[in-house]
């Protein structure tokens, strides 16, 4: 059923205005520069602490990206994604506590992720808007409750410590590269899915569920599939985080964490590719670095959030993109080719020729 739909949707165009060649090159170059810096980071005389901090940001960024995919493309704000990541982490942690090797940890992490995500998806696929929010919040609380109360399996509030990661990424810097690769792959996966016909249909559902339904789309199955994709990325982030900290406790599944993920997404810019990373960087740095010198750091985080909501609705990355576009339009003087293209989606095919 889904496959047939995928073929049909190839003609649907909801990708928005095509970007000009120059914008595209600038984007690619900045991605390459950022990746280059990230790759060289351990060689630039940074300490293990800094690398570990960047690792934390990348993992949080990947988790936020999985939330961003659902909100941005599907219009589904999940308040329970920390629960999925935590379920994956608990899967790996439990396997590790039973003395299994890291390979089995991955299997268990994947297993719990799939089961939990499927439950999330099944319960929430017929809802949208505030109801979706409430259902994901509720399932997240169930995961938290299980982690908290099922102490024979999860260690209760004490959590599970001493989880070992595979030997080949035991060093902090090899693990950093592993996480970086995982982040790039995860982001790429979400990017490709977002640009695919499937992503287009998802945006169609976001914009008008009733219209998509009347066109013959099975809205719930699209939502379920989107949730599964997002959940798998979240589960992967959960596995990375438990390998990073060697530790998991119920607070990893708490509402607080899920809310922070939404905050990251909004700070960075809903629906942007790199917004979640920027948002994660802001939150993690305020939480871990600013708090060294500023006692009232939660207030600072709140202020940043309010300022972004007031003056940069589209988030840091989204607003920068807007600003950049406006600046280019102005600096180009008389409306040139790019400007025309940007304002007229229909001329898309003409400029590639």
């Amino acid at each position: 059923m889904m496959l047939a739909k995928l073929v049909e949707t190839r003609t649907v165009r909801t990708l928005g205005a095509p970007r000009s060649a120059r914008t595209r090159i600038i984007t690619l170059v900045s991605i390459a520069v950022a990746l280059g810096i990230a790759l060289a980071l351990p060689y630039l005389g940074t300490t293990a602490y800094v690398i570990s901090l960047v690792t934390t940001i990348l993992i949080a960024g990947l988790l936020a990206a999985s939330v961003n995919f659902l909100v941005g493309d599907g219009g589904m704000a999940s308040l329970g994604h920390a629960g999925i990541a935590a379920a994956s982490a608990y899967g790996a942690a439990w396997a590790s506590r039973q003395g299994m090797d890291p390979g089995m940890q991955v299997v268990f992490a994947l297993g719990t992720t799939l089961v939990v995500t499927f439950v999330y998806g099944l319960l929430s696929m017929r809802t949208s808007g505030i109801y979706f929010l409430m259902v994901t919040l509720a399932v997240g609380m169930v995961v938290f409750g299980l982690a908290y109360r099922l102490s024979s399996v999860t260690g209760g509030e004490n959590g599970i410590t001493g989880i070992r990661r595979p030997d080949f990424i035991a060093e902090y810097w090899t693990f950093y590269y592993f996480v970086l690769a995982g982040f790039v792959l995860g982001t790429l996966l979400l990017w490709v899915v977002g640009r695919s016909p499937f992503g287009a249909s998802l945006r169609g559902i976001r914009d008008s569920e009733s219209r998509m339904r009347s066109l013959g789309y099975s809205v719930p199955s699209y939502k379920l599939s989107a949730f599964m994709i997002s959940g798998i990325v979240a589960g992967f982030a959960g596995l990375l985080s438990v390998w990073h900290t060697h530790f998991v406790s119920p607070s990893a599944a708490g509402v607080h964490r899920s809310v922070l993920l939404i905050v990251m997404v909004i700070l960075g810019g809903v629906g942007t590719t790199f917004g979640p990373l920027v948002g994660a960087a802001i939150v993690v740095l305020v939480e871990n670095v600013l708090s060294n010198s500023v006692e009232r750091w939660p207030t600072v985080l709140g202020l940043i959030f309010i300022l972004v909501i007031l003056f940069a609705r589209a988030g840091v990355v989204g607003s920068l993109q807007k600003l950049f576009r406006r600046w280019r339009r102005r600096s180009d003087g008389p409306p040139g080719e790019q400007d025309l293209l940007e304002n007229s989606p229909t001329t898309d095919s003409s400029h590639t020729a």
């Binding site: 602490y49 901090l53 509030e157 970086l180 490709v192 695919s196 060697h246 607070s251 708090s291």
Partner: protein
Amino acid sequence: MKSMKTSAPVRRAGAAALGVAAVLALAACAPPGAAQPSEAPTEGETATGTLKVGYISPITGNFAIAGQEMVDGWNLYWEVNGNEVNGVTVETIVEDDAGNPETSLTKAKKLVESDGVDVVIGPLLANTALAVAAYTSSVGIPSLQPVAAADDLTQRQANDLTVRTGSQSGSQTNFPGGQWAAGEGHKTAVTLCPDYAFGWESCAGFKQGFESEGGEVVAQYWFPNGTSDFSTYVSQIQAAGADIAFVATAGGAPGPDFLRSFLGLGLGGSQELLMNCCGMDQATLRALGPEIEGFKSVSYWAEGRDSDAVREFSEAYGEAYEGKLPSANVAGGYMTASLVAAVLDENGLVTGEELVSAITEYTFEDSIFGRVSWDEFNNTVGPVYIREVQEVDGKWVNVPIETFEDVDQWLGKDPEEAMQQPTYSQSFQG
């Protein structure tokens, strides 16, 4: 230019895959220059004669009050006695973890790897403490625990470098409470504890103590964290009709909230009650003092104990904090500071394993808790007091009326046997 546009996703995916391959190749062949950071912090300490301490505590968030008290206790000792002992200067860096284990870990890494501390003290909550202790032991840095009460910290998850210095474990403190209650001639008991690890451990301790002396626990009730209306629980206690009720809280508002319901429903005169350390701490006494005169509780800390160490501590704290008396959290911080000072005084500068063994081989004769020593799992072995609320010099204090000396964490069992049990929960109370 043209090609870049026509096949964007595929081409880009290919390029990224190439990038990833390059990363892996790079990572495989060349270890970065920063391969030696783990040994860097341990150098240069003997030369300077400074003991660098990293102190982690939740100074913001839900546990801010307890966290701040834990820091106050530590700072108070050094303010009163000066931060130089036997030629060793004690330098403290305080970090806030907001009660979040991940932040706790990052802070611990920062303290060890960036600041090069010799010892990490804290944090407060059980899960944060276990996470930090596992990390510090993996990098060879001692971890001292002033407040965290989790049994597992010195049992199933014990390690050579982690020492509980300023408290006892959850079940350990309440075991003598049960013994005392049975010794007073009570045959049946009902318990009410918070519904998470600390509560399960506290109630398990009481229950095992009570039953070891021939008593019977007829009903156990659990309240979720965040409960503020205790009237239903008080009714259940009343309905249970047991000779004595044991009620534990983790400190903060639940203590006074429970007692208000308890008194409000008129049980104050008819139902025998024993509370734990934190349900009947100074915060409760300040709120309800006159109404709870004569109420009893069990704890390793008794601010009304007649001893020079306690008096000196209480006076110093009162001077610094508007005449208040210190709670168990303050005492934990102060106790840890005085212990570090005592050990430095005896041995000069010791770090790493030497610091740990100096502490665990030490017997602290006249500490604010009484005579305290350490077992082979680095847990405190010391007195537990049955305390009664009395008015002393216009202040309401917990005065010890009975003392159980040298209480260890094994509840009368063999260590091996104790650690093979499941962890305590609603369904397993030992």
